[in-house]
Symmetry: C2
Subunit: 218 residues, 2 copies
Amino acid sequence: MTTIHIEKHSANPGTAPSEETQNVRQRLLKSAIKLFGEKGYAATSVNEIVSAAGVTKPNLYYYFTNKEGIYITILSEALTGYDEIFNRASQAQGSARQRLMEICIEVYQQFVRNIDTSRMIYSVYFGPHQSAPPFDFETFRMRHIQLLHDLILYGISIKEFRAGDPHIMTLAVLGQCHTAMELELCHSGPTLGQEGLTKVLELLFESFAINRTAITEE
Amino acid sequence: MTTIHIEKHSANPGTAPSEETQNVRQRLLKSAIKLFGEKGYAATSVNEIVSAAGVTKPNLYYYFTNKEGIYITILSEALTGYDEIFNRASQAQGSARQRLMEICIEVYQQFVRNIDTSRMIYSVYFGPHQSAPPFDFETFRMRHIQLLHDLILYGISIKEFRAGDPHIMTLAVLGQCHTAMELELCHSGPTLGQEGLTKVLELLFESFAINRTAITEE
């Protein structure tokens, strides 16, 4: 019965999704992201999601099976976006400093471009246990850390960076990325923005460098 | 009627609180911190708090008036602890670098010592709106930022630090504090610890310094 309702939305079943079906799916994702972020997973109902999206319930069941399905889809698609950045970064050319800068800026841009999803991820990760379905954030976090760590080790191996503690250097870089991102989630006060993130990373990379560059402004 | 229950717990009414009344108050705070952090403010009932504390309901009403009262007390006491650190820090002597390091380490220690409260604060701040009573986190955040900023300006004025952008330098320091603290809240992966925080700050301060110190380990 569910599919009968849905077929109405798909003008050409069996072919590429029409613009309208794409829109329905996107509208559902957008509503769910906002509601999960604002109210939490448990407090959000399927009715609220479909109503906010302006579509009928069977659409949600068709595209995502159930509330858990749309939740997992949101998180998986978000982390896939970051994984693509990590994949490109691990193939990229250039100095360790350039490559670290690029990956940090791209991660920051992805976070800001999808700020509602980012807010939802923080809400799920740091918020109260919401009897939300389990989701493996940790594999993703560890992949990010590992990539930064490998780039720092590479920088040390080619004598671009001095031989510091790669674990500390990695967490220092990660910290500046996270700070720039979190300041976007705060309710007031200064943010760093992309330009600020570039500057704090430049400060940090200067201390990694074997040869200090002259950036004193005096 | 409420007070009748309470007087039983106070062996010497009118004198300093006995050890038992102190314990009752502390037990209530501890249970509420855990429950608000795990379930959120709205989902936690007064019954659950008193039951977890092993005390009767009138005790909660006596010490905190209601659920809102215990919630506001927890947050106020936590932020008062940080305010004391900021007050001491603004009076302290020493180089800008030493003073920045001391304040960061003290804030980190306070955060870890009260890890359940810290978890609750993150849960409230980043978690879903929980129809929790409003609480002014922003004044506190701005005070922390202002203090770091003043110390950095001081460092620049005495030519201990080079003339960089004090806004960027401030957020870079703040970022490393926050990272060390947040890694304590994460569910897995590397943490920095106090020693790691000291090291990332040293990395950063090195790039602030007019004269780079020789800490290359090669």
